[in-house]
Amino acid sequence: MDRTTTEWKLNLNTRATLLTVLLLIVGLGLWEGLNRAPILGGAGAELSEYELLMGGADETARVPPPSAIFERAWVELSNPFYDAGPNDKGIGIQLGYSLYRVLTGYLMAAAIAIPVGFLIGMSPLMYRALNPYIQVLRPISPLAWMPLALFIIRDAEASAIFVIFICSIWPMLLNTAFGVAGVRDDWVNVARTHELSPLKTAFKVILPAAAPTILTGMRISIGIAWLVIVAAEMLVGGTGIGYYVWNEWNNLDLTSVIFAILVIGVVGMLLDLALSSIARLVTYQE
């Protein structure tokens, strides 16, 4: 039975990969094909009356075809770190700025959310006292903080980091509290019967027990932070992948916009993969 199961799984994986590739080819093919400007009278293709009148569709702006995007990607990725002035920086530099903001805000949030989450999870009193604040602050769109942050901090860069901070703190805080509160009494009793100090109990029993839940919160947070940074950078401007997208839109360079969208997706996926592989390290089976 085992053998057949493994074979089936391998088979499934291979088939899934094949299907993925097939969908990609079909999708790109359609996109490419539908984007090509009709050739007037070529290959016996019949044109509609409108097209005949307009002399083809050359004059309409269209979404660039995949080939153009690949070409752009090749150009951009072969020299990602060039810096030719404020409005012309390589994609690598822009991504660097965005990642720096995301990671700074995110790590600051983690540094506060995890200890406070511990406190809330350990103490029903703190949970009840702080819960109303969390419930009110949590649903606020992070971008709503932007004007206030700009006014108080008076620095666009720091305001962007603050927005990342405020949006990534909640999932980490709540998941830490939830994970800590849910640690099984049996395990806490093991610590108690072995006379572990409160600090040692926290680090040796509660932290490893709650780690999978905490990591889930961190994974949600990094996803949200990466979503928000694009919007934040569109607002604050200057640098970053979000600004890059907006800048290319103002340049009416849709090829670069699509390329940047894909890059945002890939980087987001990599961030998630990084955290999920950390999560795998601390996951345990009961």
Binding site: D186, W187, N189, V190, R192, T193, H194, E195, L196, K204, V205, P208, A209, A211, V282, Y284, Q285, E286
Partner: protein
Amino acid sequence: MSHAFVEVQQAAKRFPGIKGSPDLTVFENVSFQLQKGEFVCIIGHSGCGKSTIMNALAGLDSLSEGAMIMDGREIGGPSLKRGVVFQNYSLLPWLTALDNVRFGVRARWKEWKESQVTDHSLQYLEMVGLKEVVMRKPAQLSGGMRQRVSIARAFATKPELLLLDEPFGALDALTRGVIQDELLKIWSQDRQTVFMITHDVDEAILLADRIFLMTNGPEARIAEAVEIDLPRPRSRGEIVKHPHFYTLRNYLVDFLVNRASELRTAPQDRRGLHYPRSVNPVAEASASVTFRKADAQASAPPKLVTVTPKESHHG
């Protein structure tokens, strides 16, 4: 006044009644002594408060009334002097079997070097026959193996009093037998004082020096302390052949089936400190011929019931 190693006096556990109804008394006037090096099992139906007594001894739960003294000191909280083996193993699932035992050993001897901690832990894991699987996590071990790790962890810290809360309750009969033998083996080395909850009469006879019998809750009591004076070392195979085995067994089964629900010791022991009546069914059985008429009311002679050895669980 107490000279015994462990002294429990007039312990009671009550829960407040709902909306003005009288408090629910799970047990009260529970007093007993444990001598150093003694193996005592406690048997009673579910809900009589065995686990509460055990958790109070461990320092994990508190009593409503009464005092618990170990070695001249009142038990006020958990301590490394009292090791606990829980029914659900309570291993930390993110640690390997070895690290689970090391966790206990390191907590016990903080000044030990890492290698010393490891060696000591391995020694106890070997004693329960787990040398080959020390690097596995609890999820990769069978129920029996997990309980062995738990037993190794408890014994490795060399507590003065070991509390076993139905340690074999979740195991199948075959595994249970093997681990009972291992428990006897590991216990006979250090001769720690052991207090164990069980539902298995045969297990209690095999392991214990004395068996405490609890009446049914609410208002449960420890009614009797049955002496098991079968010779040690004991083994599962040999013990059933001993002529006194079935006398003891029938006495215990009779208590659980018939007397646990009828017996009310409240009127006599409300007067003050009252230890469970010490009973030796073997001596009583042989003397009952002459005793029976004279003592019929004060101590009802054991009513012998016949049961097949297969029927081993009650409660």
